[in-house]
Amino acid sequence: MTGVTPSQTIGPYWHLIGHAEWADLTRFGARGERITLSGRILDGEGLPVTDAAVEIWQADPPADERFPGYGRSATDAQGGFRFTTIKPGPVPGRGNALQAPHLALTLMARGLLVGLVTRVYFAGEALNETDPVLAMIEPAPRRATLVAAPDGPGAWRLDIRLQGRDETVFLEV
């Protein structure tokens, strides 16, 4: 067995920033309920993280040539990110469980030697109450750090706090 290649920081100068269109997962012609997901990344001092790469991946709707299922957004001067995508539906979990609609979100930045992983759920979904991943998070009030709130028609919003009060729950997958 060979050892896994260790992670390093993405640093402040990632060139991948040159592809703003990657934040629009509908750009290849995907059909479905189009939504935007936006938010801000804040550090332990409450300051915006202005040099982060935010990525999303969703297993539903299934990826095909019209829908990559994956997107990347650079944060702006306010620490803001913004995606356009198709709203996911429920997907199977382990055993007979059903998972509530969600996106996986990865965060990479200067000062992060390993990327952080979390999930984005949607407020008001009945399945949130029984979602097996949300249920693992204790104390229960911390689950709210993974749940996006409606922010106008077709718009959802979730801020991510890297550290301190109301710190977002990050996952080991």
Partner: protein, 233 residues
């Protein structure tokens, strides 16, 4: 072993800790609560697939519009496999780096070293059917950063890999053999000692193109799969 087998946990002693005080930028960016370990589901086991038609390869960083960048021309090649040595074919690798003078062609980089009009420093390659990849570039220069007095980054190339699933995503940096700055670099030294040298490429005369470019070999290893498939949904 199939595409629904979850990925094995990463062995302790592989990745750096996000709480690494010697690397100052970590201070207010590392989470303080422990990560919540979740079972892998379809979300974590599946992952994006990139087609070269939608994400065109850029395999030669050493020229722009037919004009050669300044610096020592290099060929970097190797494989992407999992921990069990299985090749990972058709996976996308993103590449970015400073120019030979140690300057990124990036709006944030204000280091007083020249930009090179013939070098942008961005590449994209796909592995072949055997997990092999290869690109041409110029050797990146060292550059100062303000982490501590007289801090300099060792020569390095940045890589982004996806692999077969969301759980195999990897961002890393490749270093060069014999670089005296490695032992002074908090980002390199943040990797546990037993795993650190995996980030150093090997000079490989057989990759060197005579009269043209020096060759360096760098192999990536992503997480392998467990023996037991995920229960059917």
């Amino acid at each position: 072993m199939n595409e629904w087998n979850p990925f094995r946990p990463v062995a302790a002693g592989t990745h750096p800790a996000n709480d690494t005080p010697a690397y100052r930028s970590t201070a207010f960016r590392h989470p303080t609560a422990p990560l919540v370990k979740i079972p892998q589901t379809i979300t974590e086991i599946s992952g994006p697939r990139f087609s070269p038609a939608q994400f065109p390869p850029m395999t030669d960083l050493s020229t722009m519009n037919g004009r050669a960048a300044l610096g020592e021309r290099i060929i970097v090649a190797g494989t992407v496999t999992d921990e069990d040595g299985r090749p990972i074919p058709n996976t996308m690798i993103e590449i970015w780096q400073a120019n030979a003078a140690g300057r990124y062609d990036h709006e944030r980089d204000q280091h007083d070293a020249p930009l090179d009009p013939n070098f942008h420093g961005e590449g994209r390659v796909f592995t072949d059917g055997e997990g092999g990849y290869r690109f041409t570039s110029v050797k990146p220069g060292s550059y100062p950063w303000r982490n501590h007095p007289n801090a300099w980054r060792p020569n390095h190339i940045h890589f982004s890999l996806f692999g077969p699933g969301f759980a195999t995503r990897l961002i890393t940096q490749m270093y060069f053999p014999g670089d005296p700055l490695l032992d002074l670099d908090p980002i390199y030294l943040a990797v546990p000692a037993g795993a650190r040298t995996r980030l150093i490429s090997r000079f490989d005369l057989s990759l060197t193109a005579p009269e043209w470019a020096l060759g360096y070999r760098f192999d990536f290893v992503l997480r392998g799969r467990s023996a037991t498939p995920m229960e059917a949904g």
